[in-house]
């Protein structure tokens, strides 16, 4: 620890998102500028984990003012130092601009994206140096572990977690306290606790952000869990595609060992805990508990039937408990501040907060931690800033590839485990993909099914063979070769895969198809029976555009917009599109002031 304080801290996001948008270069430039102005002793640079607002990266926050600068470049650093740090003047052009009001927002606390969030598990992410155990401790880190070990019995820890109402954040939603209870109650001289960081849903990166931004919280959560169930050894199973997360976590493990927060007789108790990282090769199915354990054991990552459950017979045949990263990140808070701190947030059946990864056709993409029970509308419009490009909302896919697509009339659905299941989606790990009017729902279903088909481990018949057949049908439909009976065939296969697959991957794989069939069946029918893609997204179904001659006012705007001169007609006369020339680009359609142009 340095002896003198700094008057200013500059927090630079060093998450994977910002690394790829160039934070390292910006940081180097900043260091140079500070040196040039002899400010190195006054201003401290802190490399943090992800702020969740990757869309706007690289992100820097200047303290003590708390000014949020986004999309900064190395060239901006001179101005930031001379203006902000030396003269105390905010550099307006680098502030975040609210997409609706176009207003510059200097403080991140005032940005809509953050305003409606409630950051419990992400509290430290982006606000502490992810590679400093001291900063974690300064924010109350390891107090929960100390409290658990010195003041609580394992059963009391479990009761507190049960009381908190925390449910598994990886997708299943199984009550964490109950899971711990099972593992605790199983007799065994050796037990394991495992952190499932095999994040695989397309677009989801909350686990990565937690590992990169607050790795000690995961370590602390695991140590508390180990104490509760009677384990003395833990594994973090993390995908090898997350090198930064692995590096930061390893650094954190080393620091914790050095501080005596991992190892033997922690806090003077007889509890000992050692922890190691196991890098997985990135198979989606390894997120499934039994496949994950097989993978740690060095075997092919294939699920096996349950029971026996991991709590009975887990890693190396020993009782084991597996929790998701986000679930574990909530544990220190629950133990440190009590179950009520957590269960005062959320709904009856779903307590606390959930981190969602917002992506798709939305203005503010990124990570948002919201209280359970918030509506989809609030997430998409208030936090997400609405649909990008001024388009209309069509659907939101929630719960990753195994989730479902929900239509506009469900926007006011409260987001909690049970409501989502009822609506045909699921919480999943918290992926949230927003789609606008130009998204074809059959194509969306096809996209997700292609993912699950490719990630199927191939063990059980319905998932291995069935997803392939479903994909073939969807390919057929989106390429204009759909037939009568295809929808029924899809339904039969979907029902079968759902009800007879061995593991959760298969059991949920048909959800995107089932939910789009439920809410957007007409799009399937249009593809099959009318050879049309209502969203205009399926290339093979685009047959050019036509002008309604009665409605056309002859304004010539469409003809001017056409890149291939396929539209003819004199001013004030009805125009005609030559379908032989038309390339179905759709450029004419939005130009027409009287909506006279439509797909052929």
């Amino acid at each position: 620890m340095g002896e003198s304080i700094y008057r200013s801290h500059v927090l630079i996001c060093g998450g994977t998102g910002c690394v790829s948008s160039g934070c390292k270069e910006a940081q180097d430039a900043l260091v140079k500028e500070l040196k040039k102005h002899d400010l190195a002793t006054e201003v401290k640079l802190v490399e943090t984990g992800c702020h969740g607002f990757c869309e706007k990266g690289p992100i820097m926050i200047f303290y003590p003012e708390g000014v949020f600068y986004c999309q900064v470049t190395p060239e901006d650093m001179e101005e930031l130092v001379e203006e902000h740090i030396l003269k105390g003047r905010i550099v307006q052009r680098l502030l975040y601009k609210e997409p609706t009001t176009k207003e510059n927002i200097p403080s991140y606390k005032e940005i809509d994206f953050y305003k409606k969030q409630q950051r419990l598990s992400l509290a430290n992410c982006g606000h502490i140096d992810a590679e400093s155990i001291d900063e974690y401790i300064a924010e109350g880190g390891y107090e929960a572990l100390g409290k658990a070990l010195t003041e609580m019995t394992p059963q009391e820890v479990i009761e507190e977690v049960k009381e908190s109402g925390l449910r598994g954040r990886g997708g299943g939603g199984f009550p964490t306290g109950l899971k711990w209870q099972f593992a605790h109650d199983t007799e065994g001289d050796k037990k394991y606790i495992i952190c499932n960081a095999d994040e695989g849903d397309p677009g989801a990166f909350m686990d990565r952000s937690l590992l990169e931004g607050d790795p000690h919280a995961i370590i602390e959560g695991m140590a508390i869990g180990a104490y509760a169930i009677g384990a003395d050894e833990g594994y973090v199973y993390v995908r090898a595609e997350y090198p930064l997360a692995i590096k930061r976590l390893q650094n954190a493990i080393d620091q914790a060992k050095e501080y005596g927060l991992l190892g033997d007789n922690l806090f003077g108790s007889d509890f000992s805990f050692k922890l190691q990282i196991k890098a997985g090769a990135g198979a989606f199915v390894c997120g499934e508990e039994t496949a994950l354990m097989a993978s740690i054991e060095g075997k092919r990552g294939m699920p096996r039937p349950r029971p026996p459950f991991p709590a009975q017979k887990g890693l190396w045949g020993k009782p084991s408990n597996i929790n998701n990263v986000e679930s574990l990140a909530n544990i220190p808070l629950i133990i440190r501040e009590g179950a009520s701190r957590f269960n005062s947030v959320g709904t009856e059946g779903s307590k606390g907060t959930k981190v969602f990864a917002l992506t798709g056709k939305i203005n503010n993409t990124g990570l948002a931690e919201v209280p359970m029970g918030i509506t989809m509308r609030e997430i998409i419009y208030d936090i997400g800033g609405g649909i990008s490009g001024g388009k209309e909302f069509k659907a939101v896919q929630i719960g990753g590839p195994s989730g479902g697509c929900l239509p506009e009339n469900l926007l006011d659905l409260p987001v909690d485990y049970d409501s989502l299941i009822e609506a045909g989606a699921m919480m999943g790990s918290g992926g949230l993909v927003v789609m606008d009017e130009e998204t074809c729902m059959v194509d969306v279903a096809r996209f997700f099914l292609n993912f699950t088909k490719s990630e199927s481990c191939g063990k059980c018949t319905p998932c291995r063979e069935g997803t392939k057949r479903m994909l073939e049908i969807l390919n057929r439909i989106t390429s204009g070769e759909g037939r009568d009976g295809d929808i029924e065939q899809l339904e039969r296969l979907a029902e079968n895969i759902k009800s007879t697959s061995l593991c959760g991957l298969g059991q949920t794989a048909p959800n995107p198809v089932l939910s789009t069939l439920k809410y957007f069946r007409h799009e399937y029918e249009a593809h099959i029976h009318e050879q049309k893609c209502p969203a205009g997204a399926c290339d093979d179904l685009l047959n050019g555009y036509v002008v309604d001659e009665d409605a056309c006012i002859g304004c010539t705007l469409c003809a001017k917009a056409c890149p291939v001169d396929a539209i003819e007609g004199a001013p004030k006369q009805a125009h005609i599109i030559d379908l032989d020339e038309c390339i179905s680009c759709g450029a004419c359609e939005p130009k027409c002031p009287v909506d006279a142009i439509s797909q052929a």
Binding site: A283, V285, R300, M302, R304, P305, P307, K453, S454, E455, S456, C457, G458, K459, C460, T461, P462, C463, R464, E465, G466, T467, K468, R469, E472, Q489, R492, L493, N496, S499, T500, S501, L502
Partner: protein, 569 residues
Amino acid sequence: MDTITLTIDGQQVEVEQGATLLEAARELGIEIPTLCYHPSLSLHGSCRVCVVEDAKSGRLLASCVAPVNDGMEIVTNSSKARIARRTNVELLLANHPNDCLGCDRNGTCELQDITHDLGITRIDFEGEVRDLPVDDVGPSLKREPNKCILCGRCVRVCEEVQGVSALEFTQRGFESIVTTGFDLPQSEVNCANCGQCATVCPTAAITENRCREKVWNVLDDDSKHVIVQTAPSIQSTMGEEFGMEPGTVVTGKLAAALRRLGFDKVFSTDFAADLTIMEEGNEFIQRFKGKKKLPHITSCCPGWVKFCEHNYHDLIENLSSAKSPMSMFSSISKTYYAKKMGIDAEDVYTVAIMPCTAKKFEMNREELQEGGLETDAVLTTRELARMIKEMGIEFSTLEDEEYDSILGTSTGAATIFGTTGGVTEAALRTVKEELTGESLDRLGLGFDGIQEASLEIGDQTVNVVIANGLANAAKILDEVRAGESKYDFIEVMACPKGCVGGGGQPLPTNDEIKKKRAQGLRNIDESGKVRKSHKNPEIKKLYDDFLGEPLSGESHHLLHTRYKKRDKN
């Protein structure tokens, strides 16, 4: 043990806690179709054909893996369960070649049976069908991945029962296949060629590599003197191919059928088994007297020998150098027999009927190809049955006939070579009598995977152990390697229960069937007058007229072989 009471199809049943729904249903005599399930292997739960409905929750459960719970109400044939079962079978069929008529397993294929039983006449699904090359370059086994339904039985038997792990799932999803490491031909990996994979495969994805054509051709070739030898175990297994009870002794019918197929002489490998006992028994006596290393390990099983060469080559010196009965037979047929018959050795063509796929590999070993002493063709029990059927022979009604002399004369000791423990018992009958003049009647062995026995010979104790199944053998060999073994004599048979459980035996098979086959062989032994190899008159004559003494120079030249280190891959 606590018991659980549940209802299946309206009938109450009480079973032990931890039992599966499938076991409980079978207790009641309710059949549920299965594919990936195999009673000798670990539970896999992958084919999803055995699904049944839990009436309370409406959920479908895979009965082979779902444990029973108190108060469960299970319906095995609800329409939901039937539709799901059917859909899963249809999905398998949609990715399976539609060539039943010409398929090796036509009639013994479990997928075919289930398709028939479920009344599937049309497959609703269509699309891409797997198109992968056949691996038939090895002498023993042929793999046809297109016929594989990925039930994983071969993978499990290879790992769990044989400890070989030559097969594994690779790729993912629809591209999944079962193959060898690095997708090499099976002949280039650590496969023991035991063919247990072929016996558990529900379809024809793994079968023996056939050589029937070769044999038909030579039978038509008048310039060749074609003789046949039948392995001991065939006598109690061949009947199954013709609808007889497992274990039925068909020695006489076998001789009659072979004669009708056109073999010039019908002999038995049993003759050579007696010869093996003479050589190997004396070899053991030498080791036991301290002239060579103990323990003595048998080497008549070619699957075991290859396994040993891959994994325990440091123990090769302990392997008996005696050739297997099949190879001894062939050597004698091309020397002593040819001379005696006045036939040019080059014209003698020796066909072996074996319960075994690894014998096809043994035949091709370079050490055994030397000197024109080799076996010319190996047919499995199943292949011979095909040929008999092809000839239109009504096997079950054939009048019994005798085997030919001189290579068809054998003892009960030779016959029990076909079951686990048989070689040991046969050897010790001769060894004890040679050393002490006292007679040994029986060792009293059962059928377990590992069995021990001790025998007083004079003032010394001989400790023997018998392992069948290579994973069991590995346990014993690990002890030897670690210097913790007390055994003097170790018998290893690669296949569970010995040759009666061989990879070339009739299908289907299970432990019960194998036991009945073994019992059939023991019955032959019990009923025989001559039960000791050294009492076989033709063997005595062979030594007197031709070989001299056991382990003599000529014996060594003709009847012994050597082994080599192979990669562990």
